[in-house]
């Protein structure tokens, strides 16, 4: 998609809505695919980054999400919103990536927890894996991301989808394949854990 003609093709379909674009993708139209990718690349990268806490992994997951979108476009039947379907792919890939990371680091974590009583939190989050420094210089953003990485992944997923991606409860329920009631309770618990983690930040921001 580098030539001028191809760029013109992309421009010609850029005003189409998602449903129309995905139908074109199902017919093998790469220009429609590029429009969808441009429309959703940042939300997907952000979701993956906030969930995984690593910029490179987030980019990789986002790229793989779009590759799968193109390859499996034929399986999209339109029963859910396109964005919901895309987030489902990204969410599954991000969970797989996280599981890989845990497997890789489980030995190191178990060694740490033997020696250090306070190392329990390493089972959930590894400080070296928290990366806002590579993306944004904001210290607060780094602390929020660090706090996110310390809460349970099942809570983190729904909190990110709700409070950062601004998705509805129904959409989150579709993406995570769980009941709306469970989604709400997980969001509440996740937020409570996050508040606990961010106490220091509040005190810095609003000293009493």
């Amino acid at each position: 998609m580098t030539s001028l003609r191809e760029e013109e093709q992309v421009e010609s379909v850029s005003q189409y809505d998602d449903a129309r674009l995905i139908k074109l993708v199902q017919q093998g139209r790469e220009d429609a695919f590029v429009v969808l990718m441009r429309r959703y690349k940042e939300p997907i990268i952000n979701f993956a980054y906030r969930f995984l806490g690593n910029h490179d992994d987030a980019i990789d997951v986002a790229q793989e999400t779009f590759v799968r979108l193109f390859r499996y476009a034929g399986t999209y039947m339109g029963e859910v919103k396109f964005s919901t379907w895309l987030y489902t792919i990204a969410s599954n890939l991000a969970k797989t990536e996280l599981a890989k990371y845990w497997r890789k680091n489980s030995v190191a974590f178990s060694r740490l927890s033997k020696d250090d009583e306070g190392a329990a939190e390493w089972d959930v989050a590894d400080e070296s894996y928290l990366p806002d420094a590579t993306v944004d210089a904001s210290i607060i953003a780094q602390k929020v991301q660090a706090a996110l990485m310390r809460i349970s992944p099942s809570y983190r997923e729904v909190v990110v989808l709700r409070d950062i991606q601004q998705l509805s409860y129904e959409e989150i329920a579709e993406i995570t394949q769980i009941e709306i009631g469970t989604v709400k309770s997980r969001i509440n618990r996740g937020r409570a854990q996050l508040q606990e983690q961010l106490k220091e930040v509040y005190e810095e921001m609003f000293p009493s």
Binding site: E30, E42, I45, N46, Q63, A141, D163, Q195, L198, Y202
Partner: protein
């Protein structure tokens, strides 16, 4: 008293007396958390993101093709091996049934013995120097059983006598002097 009981309740007064919902202790921090989350900086895609995705997409068919070719070749080869294996076992099984052990052939099977018995019509063909015509095929030996059934059981001596003829058929010619002796 009855009139006072039937008097409708004062809605405004009831609403004013509703108990206020207690504010949770961490209400403020809850709000702040959500505000912080929404204010997190957006992670931008790298400039090569789209091209990388398209490169991945375009490299896929080749990989898939390679994989599918390999799969086809492997599956075809395994199928052929399987068929060959089945054919081999089946043929060896049937040949064992059709052709008993050599010892049994020699002494127990008149059919097989008859194969080695020289017959009159075969001699002229040897004289004509065309030994290949005289080679007994399994088909020609199938005609033998009737005559063999009436023949007595052959001895080892008989089989030794018939040996030169078989050798001759293999070698192709028999010296003239030997033929004359016979």
């Amino acid at each position: 008293m009855k009139d006072a009981d039937n008097e409708p309740p004062n809605i405004d007064r009831l609403l004013q007396n509703l108990p206020s919902v207690p504010q949770t202790a961490d209400f403020t921090s809850g709000v702040l958390t959500r505000v912080l989350m929404t204010k997190l900086p957006v992670v931008e895609a790298p400039s090569t993101f789209e091209q990388d995705v398209l490169n991945r997409l375009h490299s896929l068919p080749r990989q898939q093709k390679g994989n599918s070719y390999t799969t086809i070749i492997i599956s075809a080869a395994s199928f052929l091996l399987l068929v060959a294996g089945i054919w081999y076992f089946a043929s060896s099984f049937t040949s064992v049934q059709q052709h008993p052990q050599p010892a049994e052939q020699e002494f127990n099977s008149p059919q097989q013995q008859n194969v080695h018995t020289p017959t009159a019509p075969s001699t002229p063909s040897l004289q004509s120097g065309q030994p290949s015509q005289n080679i007994e095929t399994p088909a020609s030996s199938q005609h033998a059983p009737k005559s063999a059934s009436s023949a007595s059981l052959p001895t080892k001596k008989d089989s030794l006598k018939s040996k030169p003829l078989i050798d001759a058929t293999r070698g192709g010619t028999i010296p003239d002097d030997k033929l004359n002796e016979e």
